[in-house]
């Protein structure tokens, strides 16, 4: 451990905004917010060089609570918004935040193509297996036998979406899983996702206290991987398919070409105006 000043340029709390979160007391998303601010402080990123983009949902409120640039977009469209921003401003550190409904249902198509496009950004999905903002309906990751919603009183009967396996199949270059109750480990994964050159997909288990109180047991179910990350997609496919969905850590990381459009100007404004003259 190197001796240095205890006061870094900015502390984690300096990355928080003045907006008071409206999440329920005990919500797992508080742990994610804390980990995001710690990661930004650890990386010493200037606030004006960071942008958080989100869609809709409880988790999508995250950008409001971070004192960097933010954009609270429309449902399921956080990833294309972020892609547009990164295309125009490759100098920015772009983080995307959302939940399991926003990311895997409404925005499911964008998720697939963001994985294969591999733009340099980090995507943090806070998965609580429920639509909380609309008061408790089954989401894509809900188990088929969850019968605690008035809309699905006998459960959905549908096998849940498998985020890590689908990300891998869609060509993602970085797949990790964290837990909001493990802020140190989650902070490290966020740092790694930001530092990864390409699309860093971070699946975060983040319990919903109000609609899924039984998820407090996740604390006893999560466990660390007994092996390190692999860069072999076949090996990753095998371990992710065999996994119980509660393994924490970096599961897969591989260097793949990062897509970034060439932003060099090919025409002047006068050229463009000339093209539109009737």
């Amino acid at each position: 451990m190197d001796a240095a000043s205890v006061i870094p340029t900015l502390r984690a709390k300096d990355y928080k905004s003045d907006v008071v979160p409206v999440w329920c007391p005990g919500c797992g998303h508080f742990g994610v917010l804390s980990a995001v601010t710690k990661a930004l402080a650890y990386l010493k990123l200037p606030k004006e060089r960071v942008a958080l983009i989100s869609g809709i949902g409880c988790s999508a409120r995250l950008p409001a609570y971070v004192g960097a640039y933010g954009f609270h977009g429309v449902h399921g469209r956080a990833l294309p918004l972020a892609a547009g921003l990164k295309a125009a401003r490759p100098d920015l550190t772009v983080l995307v935040a959302g939940g399991d409904g926003d990311g895997f249902s409404i925005g499911g198509n964008h998720f697939l193509h963001a994985c294969r496009r591999n733009m340099d950004m980090a995507y943090i999905v806070m998965d609580n297996e429920v639509y909380g903002m609309t008061k408790g309906q089954a989401s894509p990751t809900t188990r088929p036998d969850w019968a605690k919603s008035k809309l699905t009183p006998h459960g959905t009967g549908i096998r849940p979406f498998q985020p890590a396996a689908i990300a891998l199949a869609a060509g993602a270059s970085f797949i990790a899983r964290g837990y909001s109750g493990d802020p140190g480990g989650l902070t490290r994964l966020i740092v790694e996702a930001i530092e990864h050159p390409g699309f860093g997909f971070l699946h975060v288990l983040s319990p919903c206290r109000t609609f899924r109180p039984e998820q407090s047991d996740w604390k006893h179910q999560v466990h660390r991987s007994d092996k390190g990350p692999t860069d072999d997609p076949a090996e990753a496919a095998h371990s992710i398919q065999a996994d119980d969905g509660m393994t924490l850590g970096l599961l897969y990381a591989r260097r793949l070409p990062v897509w970034q459009p060439d932003n060099r100007a090919t025409a002047t404004t006068a050229d463009l105006e000339g093209a539109f003259v009737v």
Binding site: M1, D2, A3, A4, S5, V6, P8, K13, V20, P21, V22, W23, C24, P25, G26, C27, F30, G31, S34, A35, K38, A39, Y42, K135, G136, A147, K148, S149, K150, P153, G181, D182, P183, G184, G185, T187, R188, R209, T210, F211, S216, K219
Partner: protein
């Protein structure tokens, strides 16, 4: 919480950084709960967490004063030597936290957090190979014990009054 540290704390400077982090996280966690409960109109429980947040801020200032002139190491968030994942301050998931919690339940959460914090210092005081660290950790454990005692006093007082369960103005849309 585990009954062992993930690694032993070997210097006073390292202990001070852990103490600072513990108090900062404590203040942050209490303040988050206070704000979230206020948003949900549970002002009685919010006031208690707000008070504990202020007390943790004061403790952080005291640790900073004690650290004056000491060259403190910078520790990555995941390299702290807590006995469990996260700091003892956030390791309270087994306690029910709800927007409908009563003042008594709020105090029980505080008691749990303060007890875990005290246990951390007790572990350091018994496991560190450095005599100076053991002495300072024992002092900090004693200070934490005083806070635990204070909260226990409040709990006894709260048990003596009628339970104040907040009204649920917007109940979850779950089958009865």
């Amino acid at each position: 919480m585990s009954d062992r540290l993930s690694q032993r704390i070997e210097s006073v400077a390292e202990l001070l950084v852990h103490a600072l982090e513990l108090e900062h996280q404590s203040a942050e966690c209490y303040r988050q709960l206070a704000q979230a409960l206020a948003v949900h109109h549970n002002h009685a429980a919010a006031a208690l967490f707000g008070l504990l947040a202020d007390m943790s801020d004061a403790r952080a200032s005291a640790v900073m004063a004690r650290a004056e002139g000491v060259s403190l190491p910078e520790i990555a968030p995941w390299d702290f030597k807590w006995p469990a994942a996260g700091s003892p301050q956030i390791d309270c998931d087994h306690v029910e936290i709800s927007y409908l919690m009563t003042p008594l339940q709020a105090l029980e959460v505080c008691l749990d957090k303060e007890t875990l914090g005290r246990e951390f210092y007790v572990l350091v005081a018994s496991e560190s190979p450095a005599a100076g660290v053991r002495v300072l950790a024992a002092e900090m454990a004693e200070e934490r014990r005083e806070r635990v005692e204070l909260i226990l006093t409040w709990i006894r007082g709260e048990r003596g009054v009628a339970t104040r369960v907040p009204e649920d103005l917007d109940p979850p849309n779950l089958p009865g």
